[in-house]
Chain length 328, copies 2
DNA sequence: CCAGTGGATGTTTACGTAAACATTGCCCAG
DNA sequence: CTGGGCAATGTTTACGTAAACATCCACTGG
């Protein structure tokens, strides 16, 4: 910076003003400074900048292995939205979802150049990690339900699940089976709860819950069991991947979809339109979730805390060919 | 830091030594300092640290929208591997793959707290962006082929494609059709080149190339055309998503897989084992690619440049049920 | 008993920037 | 023509850390 100042024949402070786009600099001077910058290949040192300003203009994102489509899409939206607000995004991967790993991520966080944090993860493991959160670092949690202790942004899991079940009931099915996500997942839990609540509210029998782990493979295994249930005419899978495996199992067992069994998924991943048959599913607006996370955390930084709350992003039923009226 | 020093009754330099794990501090002193740190909730200011040390311990990753599985998995591996080396990862999303956007990302890069950069993208757009690369910032490119100008780490696209084609030829098919990725993609291009090279080397006819855009939807559209080709008994799809769409189209048109037509994919996404039928495909080791990117870029930082080169990560054929011997 | 040695700790300084305050010089109202 | 005011620019300083150098002290060997 001093070199630039010298070459441009001004003081370093003027260079600073130019590089920050501050007013009070003649057009002539500005041009000279910019020329000098270009000539010397000057680029501001962000460490010094951060040190001086007391902020990094960077958001940290803690997330589990980017194996689920939802997390990825959310992350992408966060990165894009953050960039629009002039913030960079630093990734804090947590390889294994154990309490130790999470605590580790949070403590690394303490040494990280980050102004605020967005957490994309199940809240279970977040509980004990609370303590190690550096003071003054704001947090927003996505895909969780700790609205009382954190600010949360999430898809309206319950609403989506309710829509899925109702869709199938409306088609004339007596009841709806549920292929749930793993026990540890709050998203899975809420979808499952909404499923049974909706059935109960409609006065229907609640079939035993079948559990998978989000993977297509687990959906396949579950599907082999469901194919043998004579009463089963409609299944709500907690995500599209499991629905894919389910479709495969049903096909192998000669159960036609939707003629014998209707299947509905959750997420609306791009591929689901190309399943056999194309999957009816609940569309999640991940981009919106990511955007709200960023805006939420920036808001909190400005207001220094504020109260917690939960923002729900609505879902949308996408009707394709895997669901149809009950035939007996 | 001064506060900690005062509370512990030592100098700030001793605190620094403790916080960096340097030797030459009595166990007693160390404990006192650590206690003081805990009591005051001290966490080192990474901006000051970076300023003083002249490095950020952060890698920048430039990538297009995280829509393809490969990019995501690579990114994940990069983040994990970087963490193991004590580096954080900052994401630089490029929303739209236009030259302007790429240049923009590179210029933002100049202001970013980053020691080196890993680029996951097609090289086309990288060309003109070269100029704006800040001097002294090392670059490694994944998923590309500019080995002469950049250090490149990539899956052995050609080898994988060759294996795919040979697998089908070995099964007795006269020739193999190819459902290629988008024109702009170098990965797609190399897979397509290897496909035609392999056919030519085997003295087979080269059917007209069918082009998709990586999406399942485009695979479906291409599949509708291929289903009407009476000579087509084997298709090599440039990725698994397109293979999925292809399978759907073939199914709709009543062409059985693999009895009438064999299909092989590329990538081995987790879902492909649950396609109908489970997809034979070429497995890519994205984790390895990511790891090598990180190690490569760290190496370059140490050696300050070194020469460019290309590292290829081998693929593996995963045989499932979508390919079978030709039947006439 | 003393010089020498080496480990433990303290002091000074610079990293690059931007806020706060200081200075310059010009314009215009009185 | 003169002083007040304001825009443009310069000077000083502090941000938190760690390298380089300085100091202190206990112990060893002659």
């Amino acid at each position: 910076m001093a070199d630039v100042a010298q070459l441009a024949g001004v003081s370093s402070q003027t260079v600073s003003r130019v590089s920050n786009g501050f007013p009070g600099v003649t057009e002539d001077t500005r041009r000279q400074v910019l020329d000098a910058m270009r000539e010397l290949g000057y680029r501001p040192n962000s460490a010094a900048r951060a040190l001086r300003r007391g902020e990094f203009r960077t958001l940290g994102v803690i997330t589990f292995s980017l194996s689920t489509m939802g997390n990825i899409r959310t992350l992408e939206a966060i990165a894009t939205s953050a960039a629009q607000h002039g913030y960079a995004v630093t990734l804090l991967p947590v390889a294994v979802p154990t309490q130790d790993e999470v605590n580790g991520a949070f403590s690394r966080l303490g040494e990280l150049a980050v102004d605020a944090v967005i957490v994309i993860m199940e809240i279970h493991l977040l509980d004990a990690a609370t303590v190690s959160l550096p003071p003054g670092v704001q947090v927003v949690v996505a895909d969780s339900d700790a609205g009382d202790r954190y600010t949360v942004v999430d898809t309206d899991q319950a609403g989506g699940a309710r829509d899925a079940v109702r869709h199938l009931l409306d088609l004339g099915h007596d009841t709806v089976w549920h292929l749930a996500g793993p026990e540890g997942s709050f998203a899975a839990q809420r979808r499952a709860n909404a499923w049974s609540d909706t059935l109960r509210a409609a006065g229907r029998m609640t079939p035993p819950l079948v559990r998978g782990d989000w993977s297509a493979e687990s959906g396949y295994r579950a599907g082999l069991r469901l194919a043998d249930e004579p009463d089963c005419t409609a299944v709500f899978a907690a995500n599209d991947q499991m629905a894919l495996g389910l479709l495969r199992a049903l096909h192998e067992r000669g159960r036609r979809v939707p003629d014998d069994i209707s299947v509905i998924g959750f997420d609306d991943i791009p591929e689901s339109a190309s399943f056999l048959p194309p999957l009816t599913t609940i569309h999640q607006d991940f981009a919106q979730v990511g955007r709200l996370c960023v805006e939420g955390v920036l808001d909190k930084m400005r207001q220094d805390g504020a109260e917690h709350g939960t923002t729900l992003v609505p879902t949308r039923l996408v009707r394709r060919e895997s669901t149809g009226p009950r035939r007996r």
